[in-house]
Structure formats: structure tokens, C-alpha cells
């Protein structure tokens, strides 16, 4: 059984240690006996996009984000839409999350367009949200139901009617610091501000994504793994916030 992770712009959109998400997806598939492989999707290439089960799109610096935007529109968007329609999943973090939305509006009111794959809009805030985040997730198939991570963003993201939140923040700021929501879910795309990396400390979310992506291949259940190491790191963040 093949399992493919497609990493969008691994050389440019990789600033916050988000590689942990890639490693977690690959290893958790490998440990279950799947033939896991990574497809790197740099600028100018679309090779292998049709085979991808889960796309990952991380954050970059402004300079890099400007470079990938054009390539995203020109090369990646049509095959990405096709793949998602066919049941592939997308995990987008921070800058990647913002770029999949309609636009990013600067403090001066200038709008940088996103690719509009998800119904979210982001505008610049005057203060950076930095720190640990705990989310009570709106997903029904994960145990525990909490997600933990670290946020570091000045963008304020607001969801439109087609997107629903990934969950509600118990600690931290989340999407915008106003409506207590964090992240978004829309048609196979999961957008979030959580670094940490996100998936290593939330193995239940990693499995949720793998399960959802493999459903189209007839897989409905995943073999159980020993997650005690991962859950200990998860619990550490929960315990700190209770102090």
C-alpha cells in the first residue's frame, strides 16, 4: 500500500520547524507497513501531484511567500483542486493557511491575494500572538479531543460561511484573538496557526488525516501504535496551562 505526502515548497516554506509534520505523517504510515514516500513540490513542478494523499503547506518569510504565490497560481492550483476533489487532504500551517485563503490585508490596507481554496480572510494585526495554544477540537474521531501547539503570527484570520473552525482555544489566541476559534476545516483542507510542530505532539490528529486521506483507497481503520512518548509531550503542555 502506497502513501504519499506532497510537500509544497519544502525549500522556501519551512521556517518554523514544520518539517515535524512531514516526518510524523511518513513515519506513522511506515510503522504501519505502508510504503510511505515524500514528493517534494518546489517551484515549477507538478510532478506526482496526482498521487499525493496528504499535501503539506507550511509558513515562510514574506520574501519567500511572494515568490511562491505566483507559482502556486500558475502551476499548483489546478492539480491541487483536482486532488482535493478526489479525496486528498491538505494540511496548511500559518503562512500556508493564509495563502490558501482569499487575501492578506496589510496594516496600510494593501491586499495580497491568496488562491481562494478556503473561505478565510486575513488582515494584519498590530500585536504578534506568541505562545502555547490549547484547542478543544471540533473533530469527532480523535482521542484525546485536545490539540496543543505554539502560535507565532500577527495575521488575524476570519472564517467565511463555507469554512468551519478546527476548534475553540482554551489557551492562546487562535485565528484572531476575538472569536476564540482556531484553524479551519473546509472540504478536505485543514488550516491552522499551530506550530510545535503540530502533528508530533498530536498523533491523534496525524492519524485523523491519514485515515481521511486513505478512505478513498478503502482503508477505514488504522493499526494502533504506542503513542505514550507523543502523549507525554502533549500532556506536558496541558499540565503547564493548569498551573
Amino acid at each position: 500500500m502506497k502513501f504519499s505526502v506532497g510537500w509544497l515548497y519544502p525549500d522556501l516554506m519551512n521556517i518554523y520547524g514544520d518539517r515535524g509534520n512531514i516526518l510524523t505523517l511518513l513515519k506513522r504510515a511506515e510503522w504501519r507497513g505502508y510504503e510511505a514516500r515524500l514528493i517534494e513540490l518546489g517551484r515549477g513542478t507538478t510532478k506526482g501531484m496526482d498521487e499525493v494523499d496528504i499535501f503539506f503547506f507550511g509558513g515562510g518569510q514574506d520574501r519567500e511567500q511572494a515568490l511562491v504565490y505566483e507559482d502556486l497560481l500558475e502551476h499548483k492550483l489546478p492539480p491541487l483542486e483536482r486532488a482535493v476533489a478526489a479525496g486528498a487532504r491538505v494540511l496548511a500551517v500559518c503562512g500556508g493557511y493564509q495563502l490558501l485563503g482569499h487575501y492578506y490585508q496589510t496594516a496600510e490596507g494593501e491586499r495580497f491575494p491568496g488562491i481562494g481554496l478556503i473561505d478565510v480572510r486575513t488582515r494584519a494585526g498590530n500585536r504578534r500572538f506568541i505562545g502555547d495554544v490549547i484547542v478543544d477540537a471540533d473533530l469527532t474521531d480523535i482521542e484525546p479531543t485536545t490539540l496543543v501547539g505554539f502560535e507565532n503570527h500577527s495575521g488575524r484570520t476570519f472564517l467565511g460561511p463555507k469554512a468551519s473552525p478546527l476548534g475553540r482555544v482554551r489557551a492562546g489566541f487562535g485565528n484572531n484573538g476575538e472569536d476564540h476559534t482556531e484553524g479551519c476545516l473546509q472540504g478536505g483542507v485543514l488550516g491552522t496557526y499551530l506550530h510545535g510542530s503540530l502533528l508530533p505532539k498530536n498523533p491523534h490528529l496525524a492519524d485523523h488525516l491519514i485515515r481521511a486521506a486513505l478512505r478513498r483507497r478503502g482503508i477505514t481503520d488504522l493499526a494502533t501504535l504506542d503513542d505514550s512518548t507523543e502523549i507525554a509531550a502533549h500532556e506536558k503542555i496541558l499540565a503547564r496551562s493548569r498551573r
Binding site: 519551512n14 518554523y16 518539517r19 510524523t24 506568541i130 505562545g131 506550530h195 508530533p200 509531550a233 506536558k236
Partner: protein
């Protein structure tokens, strides 16, 4: 008058802080004195008979500053410098205060200050250095510093405001540092490595400056030395590594023990290991020659150099050797891992990760470190520090067989000592405050001196 009051208040604070054992008085006196006279560092810097040198960059500041001080002291000058990584403006002020006399005047020939990238603009403005060294720019503590671009722009603005006679000494191998240098009006003094035999084949995952600043194309690397530092060019010819005036060739690396290289016809031997220390030594050599020191004198002086606190310290513990190396960001960590495993043949490791302010409160960066390098090579790895659990997860996904996480420094130390055979070396790689915690434990057990005595 105000300056004298500031100096006295600062000095008194320093003495109190040392007596009361609150951290060796390395920065608090600076806070106090600056509150009384905000211009105290500017005034003290003007007292320096020869002038000041400022060192910045992500990795290597402390070692390079110590190398330069060592050279100047060897040439008969008195030097004031901020020690022990106290590299914010308060640390530099505290260092100057400590050496100020009863009249509130600073009595020293040279000031050698390592300055945190984020404090550079203000520090350079107040200190007015004769030379500013920029070692490298890697991703580091994004929660505190912001992104690399922000830091790079601040450094450029600091250098742009310097008077024409002040020299910028820059690493030509770092694309982001080179870009800064090319935008300056005066000519920088470029240094770089020229020895393909010590180069890696490809960029590590955590490389940052990968694209041409002019056309955005991915840079081509003919050699990769440390992080994204190497020999690079834009495929469209829009940007190319500046030719280094001071280039290191024939580099020889001998574990953590020593390195040797040729620079300007002089063979340099240094009792410090790791390719990153070749850069530090080269930067110090470049600065020394720019200040008129003789190459042969520098080479001779380097031979008797000693490393700074936790930068590369060796201790004895129950018949085992402990090799302490500060490792605090992906580029630095990858290099210490590479040195410990490939060059020093290390098998036993304690890795300490803390998430206090000085370490960076976001530990995401451990996923950018190539811990996979330990797989199949390390026999024992003890994950330590207050985020030992995160480290344990990272090691699990690198498929490195590790011991259970141990947040208590004493117990972590016991675990690694017990697992290391007598006569063998345990490599202790820690973030800043994790190293402080561990060292405090070593001092308590009588295995190390307190850091303000080193």
C-alpha cells in the same frame, strides 16, 4: 556628574549581585546605570584609548569575541569585554562599568563587545566601533527575534549608519550577510572558506538564504560548509559570493580538539574543534590584520587559546570525560552533531532542551535539526531539560533509540554518566539555560567552576 553617579550605582549593583550570587552580576549593573544616565555607554566608549570592536551574528559571537580579546591582550593592550554571553546592550554597559575607575572614566585600550543581533542598531550607535563583524545569519528563536529578514534589515541599517572609517568585516559565504555587505557604501573586508574537502554535498533542511535577492531564483551551491554558508551563485548571474580577501584553505579538523588552516600564507592552529570554529578563527584573524596585527603573531597567539563557558568545555566526572557544547539553533546543532559523531566518534550523549526566554519559548526548531545523524551511531542518548518530552518525540521520529526523558538535571547527568564507560567521553549538547542548569549541578558536585570565575 550624572555619568559618575550612573557608574557608581552600576558598580555597586554588580558587587551586590555577585555577593548575593544572583548570576554573577553580568547585566543588572547595566540596567541600573542606564536608568540613571541613558548615555553612559556612549560616554564610556569614548574613553577607550584605541576604540571598540563589535561582533554580531547568530552563531559564534562569544568565541570570536574571546579570540579577538585574546589577540589584543597578547599584543599588550588592556581590553574590556562583555563575557558569558551577556550580549544585550545592558551586558555591554555592565562590562564597561566594571572597568570604570573612581572618576567614572573607563580605563582600557579596547572594547570588544559581542552584541545580540536584535540590539545591534542601538549598540553600534552608542559604541561607534572601529570594526563590526557579522559572522552569519541563521534561523534562531523566531519567537524572540522575528524572522531572519527582519534581523538582516536591522543589521544593514546599523552598518549603514556607521562612519566611513569604521570597517565592516563580513562572512562572504553567508548569502544573507553578503547581500548586506553589497548594499554598503564602503568596501567590507570579506572572509570565507575555500576548501572543498570539508564541504557537505547538499544544503541541510534548515538552510534559509536559498534564493537570489535580485531575481528570486534558487541559488546554486558549489560548496556547503555550515548551514547555508558556502560558495554560491545565482543561475542567472545576478548574485555571486564575493571573493574573500581572507580565505581559509587546507583545513584540517580534529574532532573537538583542534583545527588547522592556511590563511594569507600563515598556518593557523587552534585548540578548538568544528568547522564553525574555522569561521570564528578566520573572522578574528581578519579583524586582527585589519587592526594591524601581524599574521604570524596571531597564529602564535591562537595556539594557547581557551574556550568560553559551555562553548566547548571539557570536564572530568567519575572517570568519564564530559564535553559541554552549547547548541541552540538548527545550524549550530547540526554542526555540533556532525563534529561529535563524524569527527570525534562520539557514542554517548546528553541533549538538553529548555524553553525559557533565553532559549526561545518555541521548541519547534528541534524538528529542523538533523537528529537522524545519531541513528545507528549513538549508543546512549539522554533527552534532558524542561522540554525533554519534546526531545524524546523528536528522537523517536528520527528513529534514534533514546532513554526516557529526564527533566531533572542531576538525574539526567547521573543517567549519562552511568551509561558511559569509564575513560570514555559523554557529549553534552544543551540550549543556553539548559546548560546553565546542568552546569549549576556540576558546580554543586565540585566538577566545574562557577561560570563567572571561568
Amino acid at each position: 556628574m550624572r555619568r559618575a553617579a550612573a557608574v557608581w550605582a552600576g558598580k555597586a549593583t554588580g558587587a551586590l549581585s555577585r555577593i548575593s550570587r544572583i548570576g554573577g552580576g553580568t547585566t543588572l549593573p547595566g540596567d541600573v546605570a542606564r536608568a540613571i544616565d541613558p548615555d553612559v555607554l556612549r560616554k564610556l566608549s569614548r574613553d577607550l584609548a584605541q576604540g571598540a570592536i563589535v561582533i554580531t551574528g547568530t552563531n559564534g559571537k562569544t568565541t570570536t569575541a574571546r579570540l579577538i580579546s585574546w589577540l589584543l591582550e597578547g599584543a599588550g593592550y588592556s581590553v574590556v569585554s562583555n563575557r558569558a554571553g551577556a550580549n544585550l546592550i545592558f551586558g555591554a554597559t555592565a562590562a564597561a562599568l566594571e572597568r570604570a575607575g573612581a572618576n567614572g572614566r573607563l580605563q582600557a585600550d579596547w572594547g570588544v563587545f559581542e552584541i545580540d543581533e536584535a540590539s545591534l542598531e542601538r549598540a553600534v550607535d552608542e559604541i561607534q566601533p572601529r570594526a563590526t563583524i557579522v559572522l552569519n545569519l541563521f534561523r534562531d528563536q523566531l519567537d524572540r527575534y522575528g524572522e531572519l529578514e527582519t534581523i538582516a534589515k536591522r543589521i544593514e541599517s546599523a552598518l549603514t549608519r556607521l562612519p566611513a572609517e569604521s570597517r565592516a568585516v563580513l562572512n562572504a559565504d553567508d548569502p544573507r550577510v553578503a547581500e548586506i555587505g553589497m548594499n554598503l557604501k564602503s568596501n567590507p573586508l570579506w572572509f570565507g572558506l575555500d576548501d572543498i574537502s570539508v564541504a557537505a554535498r547538499e544544503l541541510p533542511h534548515a538552510a534559509d538564504a536559498r534564493t537570489c535577492p535580485r531575481c528570486g531564483a534558487s541559488l546554486l551551491f558549489d560548496a556547503v560548509y555550515v548551514g547555508h554558508d558556502g560558495v554560491y551563485r545565482c543561475p542567472n548571474g545576478d548574485f555571486v559570493r564575493p571573493a574573500p580577501e581572507l580565505a581559509a584553505t587546507n583545513i584540517e579538523l580534529n574532532g573537538f580538539d583542534s583545527l588547522a588552516m592556511d590563511v594569507s600564507g600563515v598556518r593557523i592552529e587552534l585548540p578548538l574543534g568544528g568547522l564553525y570554529n574555522a569561521y570564528n578563527a578566520l573572522a578574528a584573524f581578519a579583524t586582527g590584520t585589519a587592526l594591524g596585527l601581524d599574521g604570524a603573531f596571531i597564529a602564535n597567539r591562537f595556539r594557547s587559546f581557551r574556550a568560553a563557558f559551555g562553548r566547548q568545555e571539557r570536564l572530568e566526572a567519575k572517570g568519564r570525560r564530559l564535553n559541554l557544547v552549547l547548541s541552540k539553533n538548527p545550524a549550530g546543532f547540526n554542526e555540533t552533531l556532525r563534529t561529535a559523531i563524524d569527527l570525534a566518534g562520539g557514542h554517548f550523549f546528553l541533549i538538553g532542551l529548555n524553553d525559557r526566554r533565553a532559549d526561545g519559548t518555541d521548541v519547534s526548531w528541534i524538528w529542523d535539526v538533523d537528529f537522524e545523524h545519531l541513528r545507528g551511531r549513538a549508543r546512549v542518548v539522554v533527552p534532558a531539560g524542561n522540554r525533554a518530552e519534546d526531545l524524546a518525540v523528536r528522537l523517536k521520529y528520527a528513529e534514534v533509540d533514546a532513554m526516557p526523558p529526564e527533566s531533572n538535571p542531576g538525574r539526567a547527568l547521573d543517567a549519562v554518566i552511568e551509561a558511559t564507560p569509564e575513560g570514555d567521553t559523554a557529549h553534552v549538547l544543551c540550549t543556553y539555560t539548559a546548560m546553565l542548569d546542568l552546569r549549576a549541578e556540576l558546580v554543586r558536585r565540585g566538577w566545574a567552576k562557577s561560570y563567572w570565575e571561568t
